[in-house]
């Protein structure tokens, strides 16, 4: 099983990458970790004539804290995010998500920007970054741009990125003190894509009630989705079992899953409700300062 023939370039600079993308237009694709693009090329679902490897752009890799944000270079591998103490301590929701992406081998090569650009509806990192309110920095022949996750995501396997637009950096705001987050994924077997997943980031107010809350759902729509009705029910409220049940039903109703080999529409709606309740519980405990390990289905 081989990809169709292509010409291969491995430029030393980002300018070099943009120049090649501008020159070859639709016929060119960039290669990051290759963990999604190479399988697509082998199955001939993608057959770029020109493949432009980002491997030498090591400036685009690495994790650092900048004021109240964590900056993650586009080419940062999943494994580096998993091993980062900064991510573990400041962004537990993202850490939960990255540790359940595929398996060790895929995490050793796959990159954060590659995941976002590939836009698999069942991917784990888009819902995580949506819940965290991340912004995406890009460069193209017409200059730099910053996109919110909502602006980046368009459809299944489709983003708003232009043909010569390259993701360079992902900026994740560090949640304030008293905030807690969790990402839970339900998978059929270890290493598979999600049947459904949930990311929750919430902040406790002075009275210990839920303050602001963001809920993102994965694998139950063409892109990651916010559970806005559930958020409205829970925000600025004391969390009770009854309220959580109500929010879970709201999320089950507002998600938009399709039926496939991983499950029926009804099953996925049900799962979203269950995952929502579990994720809110973990987020609340973490917000109160407890160290909680997430257990995935």
């Amino acid at each position: 099983m081989y990809p169709q023939k292509f010409d291969y370039f491995c430029p030393d600079t980002l300018e070099g990458v943009i120049e090649l993308l501008t020159r070859y237009g639709e016929d060119a694709r960039v290669l990051a970790g290759g963990q999604s693009l190479i399988p697509l090329m082998k199955l001939r679902l993608a057959s770029p004539k020109y493949l432009i490897d980002l491997d030498k752009l090591q400036d685009l890799s690495g994790i650092s804290e900048q004021r109240n944000e964590v900056s993650i270079g586009a080419l940062t591998r999943h494994a580096e995010i998993e091993e980062s103490e900064l991510v573990q301590s400041k962004l537990p929701l993202l850490h939960d998500a990255v540790t359940v992406v595929a398996d060790v081998q895929v995490r050793n090569l796959g990159t954060l920007a590659g995941s976002l650009a590939h836009a698999d509806p069942a991917g784990d990192l888009a819902p995580a970054l949506l819940a965290l309110g991340a912004r995406i920095n890009t460069v193209s022949s017409s200059g730099k741009a910053t996109l919110g996750m909502g602006e980046l995501m368009v459809d299944a396997w489709s983003t708003s990125l232009g043909g010569d637009q390259v993701i360079t950096e992902i900026l994740v705001p560090i949640p304030p003190q008293g905030s807690g987050g969790a990402y839970l994924k339900f998978e059929r077997r270890a290493g598979d894509f999600a049947v459904a997943s949930i990311g929750v980031q919430l902040t406790l107010d002075q009275k210990g009630n839920c303050g602001d809350i963001v809920i993102a759902m994965g694998a139950v729509g063409v892109t990651a989705l916010r559970a806005e009705k559930a958020e409205a029910l829970l925000s600025n409220q004391p969390i009770s079992d009854d309220l959580l049940k109500e929010a879970a039903s709201a999320a089950s109703a507002e998600c938009d899953p399709f039926s496939d080999i991983r499950g029926s529409v009804e099953y996925k709606r049900h799962l979203i409700g269950v995952l929502l309740r579990r994720a809110v519980e973990v987020a609340l405990r973490r917000a109160a300062g407890e160290k909680v390990k997430t257990v995935h289905g």
Partner: protein, 156 residues
């Protein structure tokens, strides 16, 4: 158009011409002649083709050989020293951790990679970190035992 690459495989330098679409798994087996790396699914699902690239476990069917220019690769053939099996290989023999042997080179390297990073890995972590490697003979219990028992050899 073929491109010249220089790769260090198991400590030896190879200079080879490859077509850009050549996958590392086939490059190793057919061009370099190292057939210890097995090819199962070719789509990144089974882990049989696992090798170490710059010390990290990867599936060689998901890597283009041209990308490994100037890089270091370890295959299962690189573990034994002068005819003496590596402790992780000994552990697989001792625990009968292979049946048909098809998944074995990938399993051995996955175990080796895990223990190199964390010689204190317990059963749960071993199971998690080996999840990318499938054994069609389903001999997982013995494989997990073998990796666990090899751990002592990795502690300084």
């Amino acid at each position: 158009m073929k491109q010249l690459i220089q790769v260090k495989i198991n400590g030896r330098i190879y200079r080879e011409e490859v077509e850009p679409r050549m996958l590392l798994s086939f490059f190793l087996r057919e061009q370099v002649g190292l057939t210890g790396t097995h090819v199962g699914c070719v789509v990144g699902e089974c882990g049989a083709c696992s090798v170490l690239l710059e010390g990290r476990l990867v599936k060689s069917c998901l890597v283009l050989a041209v990308r490994t220019d100037q890089k270091k690769i370890t295959t299962v053939e690189g573990l034994a020293r002068e005819g003496t099996l590596h402790p992780i290989q000994e552990a697989f023999v001792e625990h009968y951790a292979l049946q048909c042997g098809f998944c074995t080179s990938g399993m051995v390297l996955a175990g080796h990679s895990l223990l190199t990073r964390n010689p204190d890995a317990g059963e749960e972590e071993i199971r998690q970190k080996l999840a990318g490697n499938l054994c069609m003979c389903t001999g997982y219990t013995q494989i997990v035992k073998a990796v666990g028992s090899a751990a002592k050899a990795y502690k300084k």
